[in-house]
Symmetry: C2
Amino acid sequence: MNLDLMTYVALGSIISIVFAYIMFNRVKSQPMGTDKMKKLSEYIQTGANAYLKRQYKGVGLFFSVIFIVLLVLSCMNLLNKFVPFAFLTGGFFSGLSGFIGMKTATMANARTACAAQQGLNKGLRVAFSAGSVMGFVVVGLGLFDLSIWYFFLKFWYTNIDIITNDSVMIQNITSNMLTFGMGASCMALFARVGGGIFTKAADVGADLVGKVEAGIPEDDPRNPAVIADNVGDNVGDVAGMGADLYESYVGSIVSTSALAVSAGLGMKGMAVPMLIAALGVIASIIGTFFVKTKENATQKSLLKSLRTGTYISALIIAVISGFVINYLLPKHMGVFYGVLAGLISGILIGFTTEYFTSDSYKPTRELSKTSETGPATVIIGGLSLGMSSTVWPVIIVGATVLVSFFACGGDITNILSFNRGLYGIGVAAVSMLSTLGITLATDAYGPIADNAGGIAEMAGLGEEVRERTDALDSLGNTTAATGKGFAIGSAALTALALIAAYISEIKTLAPGLVFDLSITNPPVLVGLFIGAMVPFLFAALTMDAVGKAAQSIVHEVRRQFKNIKGLLEGTAEPNYESCVDLCTKSSQKLMILPAILAVIVPILVGIILGVNGVAGFLAGTTITGFVLAIMMSNSGGAWDNAKKHIEAGNLGGKGSDNHKAAVVGDTVGDPFKDTSGPAINILIKLTSMVAIVFAGLTVACHIF
Amino acid sequence: MNLDLMTYVALGSIISIVFAYIMFNRVKSQPMGTDKMKKLSEYIQTGANAYLKRQYKGVGLFFSVIFIVLLVLSCMNLLNKFVPFAFLTGGFFSGLSGFIGMKTATMANARTACAAQQGLNKGLRVAFSAGSVMGFVVVGLGLFDLSIWYFFLKFWYTNIDIITNDSVMIQNITSNMLTFGMGASCMALFARVGGGIFTKAADVGADLVGKVEAGIPEDDPRNPAVIADNVGDNVGDVAGMGADLYESYVGSIVSTSALAVSAGLGMKGMAVPMLIAALGVIASIIGTFFVKTKENATQKSLLKSLRTGTYISALIIAVISGFVINYLLPKHMGVFYGVLAGLISGILIGFTTEYFTSDSYKPTRELSKTSETGPATVIIGGLSLGMSSTVWPVIIVGATVLVSFFACGGDITNILSFNRGLYGIGVAAVSMLSTLGITLATDAYGPIADNAGGIAEMAGLGEEVRERTDALDSLGNTTAATGKGFAIGSAALTALALIAAYISEIKTLAPGLVFDLSITNPPVLVGLFIGAMVPFLFAALTMDAVGKAAQSIVHEVRRQFKNIKGLLEGTAEPNYESCVDLCTKSSQKLMILPAILAVIVPILVGIILGVNGVAGFLAGTTITGFVLAIMMSNSGGAWDNAKKHIEAGNLGGKGSDNHKAAVVGDTVGDPFKDTSGPAINILIKLTSMVAIVFAGLTVACHIF
């Protein structure tokens, strides 16, 4: 029976990958435009490849070290023997989906610009199809990794290390699968943090010297950092976002499956989250067919069509999952409310993000007015906006937690019911992420449109085309903002499921261990304090990294303007590669410290404060990280759009003092929204993953 | 026996008040200088009085409402009958100490300027003596309020509502005393938040029009907002800081005493924290005698002399408390380690704050260099500095918690030992605050010196005097920064003691109630989330309030410059009162929302999420509030000093582009360090106090 269920999951994975392949070919078949466009696209591809090559080198080294550590620990029996290998496949598939997504994105930019010559809708279709490749590759490979490990472990425990008790077997399978999340997490860290540093260093560097000092327009081909800027969109916003959500996706699924055992829901309970995910593939594919509009579409109707796709997918999942749960867990229909809570809160968080960051609404409009009294008030206004914007997401996530816990029969006086409630929270996380195929497509579409705009500008395609790509890009800003809200919301729920899985892992590992997770217990309390501080430190380190990397770009661009004769006059070509190379090098170098921090701190906390301290630490990181990440993302998004609002001709328009003040906000917001905020997403999941993997070590030796 | 012990506490209170009185007379006997100085000082006094008058009106209304609510609740038997009255006395004495402190400060400003004509050391002595009045009044009235309630309740339970069981009697006494903290908290909220909004609105308003638009120097008497700015120093930094620490002081003492009962330490355990506090009075008085230097003192040696005073006080407390504990709790010498941990961590937190905010060290110097690439990098650098600076305070507080808990025999497997450990944490908080007499004196000295500088400038006392007051002021910046670190650190420990007292209160109120404070319990988790969000919201609201209030000042100053002929030429006088009045009105109006928030949210959380949710909420607010407050204070302090570093002639000096960029940082930092950061201090204690007072309501009705 159960084998059959997991076969559906494998099938979902294959359908997803096939659909991604079809979309890939559709994009590939589009014309690339003029020779100049081809050449520019090539530059970006080369740059992106160079970045990936170097990143994989760094990642390879990092993974080798961790692999060896894990191998040693597993030889010491502090870890299960499959963990080191699960770690590798998790990292591999996460990296692979980033790689494919980025390849497609860099292939699609010129094609989108070319299609935009024929109309807004045409451009949208190409960019969205390319985004879909990313979306469905992430989902497909995630489910694929899950399936192969499941079938392998099942085979192993049926034929080699024979386990006859079903419940013990699932326990073993799920707790092994849980650890491959750490591989995905580590890869995500590199992709998201490294990419985030790269993209903002290039952006800030290009702007500071090109726009401010030399006075040439944005995306001007004379600017040596312009290609690096475009590469950055791909490595940060496409590959980074993909890896981030890949991690949330598999993390939420495996942690929920692992909780099924302790909740007494057996194999069926284990299969439900995976089936919801597989169901999401089909629903997302159906949803993509609704993303189209008339040729004379306005920006508003474009946004509506993108949304319609997501809503239809969510609706399909809601309806069918009801039947699935009714069939598999007829006594636990409360799980269905978990599904609904997850789907609804995903949509609501997207809305609140849009409200606080789009210039169609009051907060960002008011923010743009603060520019009248100079940059200081812009900064205060933006920080305050971001801080206030945390209220709704907290309430939404809080309500989701309560609804899914209590609807699934959660009850503190009975351990089995309690775990069932926690399982419900996990299901909410999974269902929020079940529409990932299409939400990621609408998200990855943004940077592709942004790149297309860059190419249109550099290739001199004319006002009309640039206007269309601008419209696509601006729409992309909105989808990117909602996507970020979605990413953070799902990360928080995933982290909660992971914390619950951690505790249940500890109970299995050390059944006799007495622990007290009360917030009044000092190790828990101190863990909470440290956990609350780490996101701040992480944000500081990543912001500093952007600053330092940008500095090196500033010097290089200045050098080229000075040394290459005829560059500013347009008679000589800049050296694009050197800027790409610098960004690559510095982003890889500067992310080492945050990366080490994210891995080492949970281990250290475990050694010093024990299990109680680790649990407090994880909770502290999750709650404070969640709030801080939302604040940073929303402040950054609002500053960006407040500036764009002025550029659109309001409050004095481009070049006015108000505009200059707004640019200061935007520059501060760049690392906020594209580096530090997203990096915290990874942090809250990675720390939980590390804690789970090193749970054996924590149990074996700790001071308090 | 026990009566005797508390008599020592009453004696300490009287000594403290007498010492404050002597200091007050010493300051009063100093000459006030020229007629112009007298007049300026009068202006400031009048302004401060006008502010206080209006504030007390608002406070009166607020207290009346809460008093009635408490009365109703106590009639419904949801509260003890003494609570409403304890609430009033707490508010009254807190308000009184702020009033006296401010009176002294406004009386001392011209006298300090006058004394500075004779030398740096003379000026220091006057300003420090005035600061001492504040310090010892706070301590004296705090202990006084404690003593009268103790003797009254003891009399009541011995003669009227007769309780024969000693243990039950202490239980009743301490749990009643606990609630007078809420009155102090509410008063502190008004003083700190209202004062914080006032001072920064005046400061920012005065600077934006006077310095930037009209191009007149700081503290120029032609600026209509200059008196409001000086008044602000007194209402925000003197009265606000005093009320803040008054609250921490009494809060830590009463919560620790309340824990003594559940820790099985009886009357003696109850008396120990109070005796340590009383001992601190004597030690602090002795310490003040060491604050003096030679006439030709440098700034460095002045700082050293201020520090010597504090260290000597701490040393005396450490030694004598050893004997006291050995005499009263010979079996629990671990409590002594709690005392040591508190004293040491208070000093260490001050050090880290100084390291991150003084331009004698690398972080602030590096920050001033970021001005070379414009305001955006100054902002990013300052935020990042503040975020990184949270690491050490978290580690210090964490270590203090662990050391004091485990040294006092804390053990999670035994409830009595567990409570003894929590008592140890409370003792650490008390001992950190036991040097309050002298630490508050060094702290309150800063704004007095600042005001003296303003008067010296306005009265045209000449370069030399201004240089001396500048040196005093600059030293005041350092002591203010360390004072803020100290205030936040002690607030965090106090809040922890209050949370523990809350739980123990709940256990007494509802012995049969099953609760689970595990961080995996969803109501706790959701409480943590909400708790983490509230400090961000509070910071946003207070920053917005400063922005709005400053805006109204900007308009008023512009109006006066335009309408009063001869004002800029110096032939006509500005209307100072209107600016003071505006600041007063808007600060009182704009603080209503944050005040309501701080009181309502814990009650709402209790009604919705029950005891578990409240506990999570308090923990979340404390940990995130602690980290956020440190970040905001330190970012603000560093921006201020980075600007001063440039003004001292580095990196291009005053008027350079670098300076302009640094001014943007300083303007952002103003509400950070003087409004929002300190307001969070109050928030974390007030929410705990409200939770304690409304514990009965939470137990009686809650949804989850």
